[in-house]
Structure formats: structure tokens, C-alpha cells
Symmetry: C2
Subunit: 425 residues, 2 copies
Amino acid sequence: MNAHLLTIGDEILIGQIIDTNSAWMSRQLNLTGISVNGKSSVGDTRTDIVAGIEHALSLADIVIITGGLGPTKDDITKKTLAEMFESGMSFHQETYDRIRAYFEKVGRPMPPSMQDQATLPDKALILINKVGTAAGMWFERDGKVLVSLPGVPFEMEYLMTNEVLPRLKSKFVSRPIIHRTLLTAGEGESAIARRLEDFEETLPPHIKLAYLPALGLVRLRLTGVWPGEIHPDSEQKLTAEVENYAATLHSTIGDLVFGTETQTLQGVVGEKLRGLGLTLATAESCTGGYISHLITSEAGASDFFAGSAVTYSNEMKSALLGVSPATLKNFGAVSEETVREMAEGAVKNLGSDLAVAVSGIAGPGGGSPEKPVGTVWIAVGNGTQTNAYKFVFGRDRAKNIQMAGIYALNMLNRFLDQLTHQDSR
Amino acid sequence: MNAHLLTIGDEILIGQIIDTNSAWMSRQLNLTGISVNGKSSVGDTRTDIVAGIEHALSLADIVIITGGLGPTKDDITKKTLAEMFESGMSFHQETYDRIRAYFEKVGRPMPPSMQDQATLPDKALILINKVGTAAGMWFERDGKVLVSLPGVPFEMEYLMTNEVLPRLKSKFVSRPIIHRTLLTAGEGESAIARRLEDFEETLPPHIKLAYLPALGLVRLRLTGVWPGEIHPDSEQKLTAEVENYAATLHSTIGDLVFGTETQTLQGVVGEKLRGLGLTLATAESCTGGYISHLITSEAGASDFFAGSAVTYSNEMKSALLGVSPATLKNFGAVSEETVREMAEGAVKNLGSDLAVAVSGIAGPGGGSPEKPVGTVWIAVGNGTQTNAYKFVFGRDRAKNIQMAGIYALNMLNRFLDQLTHQDSR
């Protein structure tokens, strides 16, 4: 079963906004068992909308439109859809009441344009938008489905999750599909693939492994599609089978796996710290506060995060973290000796149980033959024991900062596992 | 003159990558005077590529394709293009030599697939890619232009800037177009629009003002299109006219303008600090290192940036920044009194000339009727004088952190202007 995604709106065509909706929708449709075979964008005129929709319907069984539904859009998308589906328009009391309640809740007066927002095509199934004012619409013609959704990401995501995907699944997807995702850090895609050669050979044809790399991380997704005749317990059996392979996958590369599904490295680290009742501080030079920013991006970080000393100068490394001026002079700011003293100083001066420290050359300047741009030392310690490693990333400043952040969190995660392991012996 | 942007590749269709290329290309084409009237994406098969290209050519005079050119793509896009334009393929020595030199430079062995990378359609004008291995290709048919570019963003940007846009401009755009952009912070789009009502009325029909809002910032772009007969000095005259209006615009809202064109707030602040020979520190609570991260994202920050104390707990605010426990007890961590002491403590303890301090409630938890989620206090000071303001942002944690970061940098920028102004009296 194929879908086409169509965005309507000049904001996309002039490049004012980056279309993040369609990547999200593609992933969700794929997970449901529906492939996206094309995407397109057209402007805000009736002619372009009609041509765009007809073209999309010629290419796929399912067309999902986003955008063009806001109260300032002159209702052009809605009117065009009503015309194309030869539908009258009626005032939709339920939608109006919902919009009125929404404005009451946020304590703002309801603009008169909301009367139009609640006037909807008769032939559409109305998809109730509980997080905004523009309703979703579901049309059917010749066995094909056309859905129109608002372009605001969280409204689109709400309607896709609660209204569109379940309906598409029951209408078009009969075969159970099960996914399980493992998250890894510390190795690249090809190194992982070499370690998984034997595992991949054991996979039956109806279970596939996908590698989804991102900066410093690789997600591994197993997808099972029920192969035979469908019985009431097929989904349950497939789930058990996929989970069994996921467990084997996990045990094969357990040293790289830090989580599953939609977890994040900072979230996993935070959970462990909370569970162990330990506090954390960071001591950052080249990452310039980025690790601290990642950790505090998650709500509830104040449960375990003491803070950070971002020490960009040698003087600050000594003043805030107690790094010895002799160490800085003899070994340099980017050295094992300095980064160890930074981690130890953070535990001491910032009063935390653990600390992670980073010192490196983010670039583009500051490199030398012995310490090229991209050289980064990372240390993790708890005052008793401190581990330090050197990494050499690339030449791009932004990527070096991001990679150093991910690797630091990964080292911290392994250190926490090591602590737990020692405790349980 | 209209353009259509076509991306080729399953990575886009399965949602593995977000297409940032086409927004960048749309903006650049628009600035050149070419409108994008549609975008589309197709998969990696010959049939889909042919149908996608034919459809795009039916809609626009210029079609720009990205993606599908990598050495692992089995050359499907290149072969399909050669077939469609009835062109043979030949080995292109110049491209091969360039690729070989590229691999020599980065010190890696050249894979055998590079022989194919240098085999190119005879009928294409080859666009030399100096930053990667896949060449760009320029085809013409019936007065229309089709360009094929690699999908790697910096390679695409290199080829667009150096090869494609200049050629498109000379072929399709006869009329001079001039843009000037002012960057503002501190007010929303509608508040700025009210202040610019009179200014907008003075604009002649051939000069337009566009509002381009982003989180906490609004870019104001003046675009002039030469209206009359074209003479050798038309571009020069139009430039003078647009710059004249830009100067008036600047003087009308000078208190909000922090820069022009592609500058950033952190870059502008950094330049001023460097120019004044002053050093900076940050003291961050709810922003959790984000301001420090923004400042150190720009190369050369070590010239003026001392560092940051990210103090997430009250103990740390006292230990690192010397905030009095009585202040924290009597007024709370999110208060004018605390944030002032944080800024003053940062100047003193971090040894910098200036400091910016932030304390607030990023959410989702921690709010109260008196201090709801989104309440943020920001202080900027130099030890002698400290300014503090309260802001109330929204309910979204990530946005509150970002907004607080932008507003803190904006306050710092104004403080620096104030210092310069005092000095020059």
C-alpha cells in the first residue's frame, strides 16, 4: 500500500520553513506498513492545489495533505477540496464548540474567523483536533483515501497518531508488523555491521534489520512482517519472535547498546543517576557547555544535576577546577593529565558524586601536528576512580562539539554500569 | 521565471533524513529572482526518476535535482538522465584527476567505484565539484534547464553558489534585484509591524519589505526589483535606493536592530567584546549551559570567553557564584535579587569584565501562581553596573531555554552598546 505526502503553502516554497512534518509522517507510515512513494509541495492557489492533488491521487492509494488550513489562509484548501469532492459546506457545531472551549481555556477572545474554521465539507469525515482549531478531513473516492491535516507539527502529529494511522491501518494493513529498536553508541555503522554478520544470517526472510545512523549513534531496528496465514494470535507470535531476535541482537553487541525505542543517551544517564541517588557535574572546555545543555534539556534534570564549570581559559581551569598550573604548562590544556584533574576537581569543587570532563580542539584553529583539530580528551570519575580516553574526530567545529558531547555521555553511561556491576558483586 | 526542485532518494521517502536542502535552495533562488513553484521527491528507481523529471519539466522552466549521485547509488540517476537526454557516456579525465587529487589530499585510498563517478553524459555541461566526488550536470532541452547536483548539503551549496546560480541568473534573470536584510531581537513581528506602518507607506511599489520571524528574532528584508528600462547603471542606482530605505528602516527601529545579512547575535556580541578588549562569563541556571554553548559555537570564542558557571542547585549558586543563602531563602532562586548576585558573582569569581546571568523556570514542572513556568530573570553587569529584567515566555521547556538564551545575548549586546556610548561621550 502506497502513500503520497503533499504540502500546501508558500512558506515551504520560499524556503521560510523547513518541512520536518513529512519526514515524521514517512517514518510513522513506514512503521505502520505503508510505504511513501512520493512527496510534493505546491503553492497556495486553487489551480496549483487541484493539480497537486490530482497528480498525487494518480500516484498513490493514500494522499495526506498538510498545510493550507489556518484561519488566515482564506480557506482555499478546504474550499478546493469541497469542490473536487463535489461536496457542500456546513457549519459544524461540534467543531465550533470545541474551538470556543479552546479559546476560553487559553483566556483569549475568539476571532470572528473561527466561524469559517467550523464550516466544513459535508462529504468529509471530520477528524477532531483536540490541540488546535483546524479540523482534519478524511475523504474517500474510488477506493482511495485523501486526508487533509493542519501544518502545525504538534497538531499534525496529534491527528496522525490518534485519528489517521489507526484508520489507515484498519483499512489498508491486514498483516501484523512489529518493530523493535536498539540504540547504540561508540561504534560506526560498518564496524557494527561486521560484528552482526553472523546474527544477520540467522534472520528469517520475514524479519529485517535496518541500520539508522545519526551523529555518534546508530539505531538498529528489527522489523517483522507476519509471513503466513493470519490467525488471531499471529501478532502475538510475531511479537515474541521479534523480541527474541532483539534479545539475541542485544547480547551480541551489549557493550554498545544504551537504550531502546525513543530513549536518549542523556535520558538514560539521568534515569541511572536518579536510580542510584548520585549527583553529576560537568567540567567543559571545548564543548563549551554543550554537555550541560544536553543534560538539562530533559525535564527533571535538577534531581541529579549539580551544574557545570565551563572553563575556556587556563586560568579558569585552575580557579574553578583546581587544575594545577604546572600540569597545564607541562602537558597542555588538551591532555590526559589536564582532563583527569578537571574531572577530579569538578567532583571536589562542585560537590557532586560524579563528573565528566572534556578538553579538546574543536577547530578550525588551534591544531598542531601532534594534536590536530578534532583531538578530544574525555574523563569520567567519581573521586576514587577516573577513566580517561582520547578521541580524534574531524575538522568541523560544530560536529566535533556534538561528537564530544555524545561520546562523553556514552562514557558516563558505561561508568555508571560499571559502578552498578561493582555494587552487585 | 519558475523553478521546480526534485529530490531523488529513498532516504527522504522513508523519513531517515529531513530535507534541509530544498529550503536553502528556495531561499537562494528567490534572492536571485527565480520563484520556486513546486517541489517533489521520488525514490531511487528508473521509472520513478523518469516520471518525476518529466512531471517537473512540465511544471517549470528550471528543474534542479538533488541526490542519487553517490558512488553507492549504482549510478541510476546519471544513467537515467543520459537516456532521457539521448546522450552517450564518456570517461571525464578532468573529473577523475580531481577525485584522485581529493583522495590524495585526505590521505585515503581511492575506491574503484570512482572510475564510474568520473564517467559522465556527453551532452551535459559538467559543473566542477571542488568539495566532493560527484560532479554536477547541466542539461538543456527546448529552452528549459535541468541541473543535477549531489545531495550532500555542503556540496550542493558549493555548486549552487559557484556554478548554478550565476548561470541561471545570466540566462533567465535580466532585471536587477537587490536585497538588504536587518536583524532584530526583542520584539515580535506584529509589534515591529505597528512601528513600521509609516515607513511601509513610503516604500515605492518596486521595493518590498518582508518579515521573516524565527525564535526570538525577526529578520526584515527589503527587496528592490528594478522597475523601468534597463541601463548599465540600473543595478547601481537600485542598490543606492534600497540602501537608502534600509538606512531609514534602521533609524526607525534602531533599538531593535543588532546586525545585518547573515550575522548572528552571538557573533555580533563576540565582535564587540573583541573590539573592546573585554572578557565575558555566563552564570546559568535554567538555560543549563545553552548560552555558553551558543557563544562557543563560533570559532575564536576563546579570544574573549572566560567560561561559565552552570549552577543548577542553590548550593552551587552559593559555592561558585557567592550568591548569599539568605537571598536564595528570602527571594527564591528565580528572583531579581538572585540573578543580580549571580551576575556580580560571575564577574568576581570567574574573573571576567562582564557577565550575563539567567535564572528561571523552564518547565514543565516547578511553576507556581506567582512564578509560572516560563518566568525568567536575566541580569547583565560589569561589576559596577548591573541591569536585570524579568521575562515571561511560554510553557515549552525547549523553547523557554532557547528564548532565554536569545534574550540574554540581546541584553548583553545592548549593554555593550551602552558602554561604548558612555565611553564616547
